[in-house]
Subunit: 402 residues, 2 copies
């Protein structure tokens, strides 16, 4: 018999979100009247397309019933149209809407891996993958990419040597969170070839697909060579600035994967009915909005890079996409630095909230001096934030010397 | 190295939803012009309170950002007010909003049980628990309740003999889906006592809390003796006829459980922003709506019972709550019967869709002759449906004899 009333080990092992765990500290700073430039959460400040709320308000049915687990037909058709613009033809059963990309990530992982199985990831890594892996009993095996070499995967051997009999999949986030890296054609070809050779799935997280500062939006679904291996997880949260809508999707040409995902989807019944309808016009005609959005993020990237260049000792590779920038600072411990910024520092009653990157790594001890910045402020504000960050860093160094 | 590209074992093991898997067959029947009385899904036909869509339309913020993982403050406060009307004082951190009750069930299970751990359930059981258990690697151990004895738990020994060193929790759904059973004070006391004695959690699924045809709405949260053991999973889907809103909650006074659930909640980021706001007026002032709703379901229950009494060989205990009725029919295989009704039968171009109950059991071979009916039609329609069901049953018996 159980001796004590205890929560599960997985409940204990899972880390709090590195992006969200400092929120109480931020609330205390704000209650002291300090203005915080919040660069921690990828929560876009840009106004979403007006069509969305107009469509919500145009909902005329008297009931708000469950949507089909396969998604509302017109909503799925809108995703099909959206993908057709990317040159990809999907059948109705190749895609299932999800509660944001987060749910799609969980579905993808459990569709391909059992308890004890391994999934390869590139670190630094969007930290929530670690949480899902703990919940599902899956082991994430990290392949290290380094800021010093621009986070580039130089050799397929770096991946190959991590593959075991338990490896079931490789995760690739493109454009990448948290590094802002765009995966090159050579790298993607490498991953595709490995997937075929070792019979691995590729879980391609394309949440930030359109947000890239060069080249055209891509999807792994358009690659023919490993079509059966690819599972794409997707979202409208970033490209239409609608994270609160909780609309994502999972897409694959692998019928077995889709049959599994449908069963997972049935267990949780459905995705929000209103938002499925409201997302239709965006998926169908949202391209002009996205073009303007990308222009704006490109300006912000330039402003952030300009500001970061002025910070003594800061090392970074200018981000090529998404709206994140990984920065190595001349500090010992990024968590302590973030805490310092919120608790002990202000300049003209302002401070900056960034995300410490320790938790974006699986390997112990890595990322101790790195922070992630999300470009979720307008250029002018962002420039100010970079200045405050620079001043905070000097104050932190001075405080450490004391 | 993996020899083939295969989905996971859990993806294979999980059952398709018994409630949703016959939908393609229903679509085919409808395309032949047959009207189907759909008694399969717990998707209320009753119109939800107008305040909900009014609140959605009153959303005035320009952005639709992530909600906090802890829930929008005013939304959580509305849940607190709602529970206060049930005599329960919850602190802000005792409750976390979820994407429907479905997500709360997953969170509760993984908060208390690890891979390989056991959770006791009473069968027949709302089938989605089985899916979540497979996804999470948890073993559900069934305690049988029987239609012949009104699904009553007569002795705590029936539960005790199923408890092992791996048992972590007991699930109780009250009012119950699929039986419509109300758990008596004696039964709840039994469960509470066992939970204390063996240090088990009680996962109390109170989705149908108000929908009971006698007595007052209850919650396990009001029981003091095992306060630390109780985890309530809840939903607005049924009491406000809003399943498409995907708003639920998990509540517990156990701080460790809530800390775990917060981490799970952070991993999936947030619950729909619009619906959290829109649910506020219902949680605060929805009682009159719920009273009317319960009256309506009570009438329907009476109509269903009246109709079922006319069906030769049908055995059932009149449901006391929720809007479900388990019925044993003089048939060999309820799945085959449901298929027959959709594919081979119609009366005046009408048929009935019920849910076969095999998948509501864990023990093999049980429930072969049982169906679940959801009272999601108006009295007049329901009466017609019962008549069509009776005729369908006769036709099925005749077809089997041939």
């Amino acid at each position: 018999m159980t001796k004590k009333l205890l929560v599960s080990n997985r409940a204990r092992e899972i880390n709090p979100s590195p992006i969200r765990k400092f929120l109480p500290m931020a609330e205390r700073a704000e209650s002291r009247g300090i203005k915080i430039f919040k660069l921690n959460v990828g929560d876009p400040d840009i106004i979403p397309p007006g069509e969305f709320m107009r469509a919500v308000k145009a909902y005329r049915q008297k009931n708000l019933g469950y949507a089909p687990s396969t998604g509302i037909l017109r909503h799925v058709e809108a995703w099909q149209k959206y993908y057709r613009r990317l040159g990809v033809r999907l059948s109705r059963s190749d895609l299932i809407p999800t509660v944001g990309c987060a749910e799609a990530i969980g579905f993808a992982l459990q569709a391909v891996a059992d308890v004890g199985d391994e999934v390869l990831v590139f670190e630094p890594l969007y930290a929530n993958y670690k949480s899902f892996a703990v919940m599902l009993g899956i082991k994430l095996v990290p392949v290290a990419l380094n800021i010093g070499t621009g986070f580039i995967l130089n050799s397929s051997k770096d991946v190959e040597k991590k593959i075991s009999s338990k490896t079931k999949a490789i995760v690739v986030i493109n454009p990448d969170n948290p590094t802002g890296k765009l995966w090159s054609e050579a790298e993607l070809y490498m991953l595709e070839t490995l997937a075929k050779k070792y019979n691995l799935f590729i879980i391609a997280d394309e949440t930030y697909r359109e947000i890239r500062f060069s080249g055209r939006p891509q999807t792994m679904l358009s690659r023919k060579a490993a079509a059966q291996n690819v599972v794409v997880v997707d979202s409208i949260s970033k490209r239409f600035s609608l994270p609160g809508a909780r609309i994502g999707a999972l897409a694959s040409r692998n019928a077995e994967v889709m049959a599994a995902v449908l069963k997972f989807a049935q267990a949780r019944l459905s995705v929000g009915t209103l938002e499925q309808y409201a997302a239709i016009p965006l998926l169908e005609h949202g391209k002009p909005y996205v073009s303007r959005l990308v222009k704006e993020y490109k300006k912000r990237q330039a402003a952030a890079v300009k500001g970061l260049k002025k910070i003594k000792g800061a090392k970074f590779v200018a981000s090529q996409g998404a709206f994140y920038q990984t920065v190595a600072l001349p500090i010992d411990n990024a968590e302590r630095f973030v805490e310092f910024m919120l608790a002990d520092f202000s300049y003209k009653n302002q401070t900056v909230m960034a995300t410490p990157m320790q938790d974006f790594y699986i390997s112990k001890g890595k990322g101790q001096n790195e922070i992630r910045i999300a470009y979720v402020l307008k250029v002018k504000e962002l420039a100010k934030a970079m200045d405050v960050l620079a001043r905070g860093l000097e104050a932190y160094k001075a405080a450490c010397l004391r």
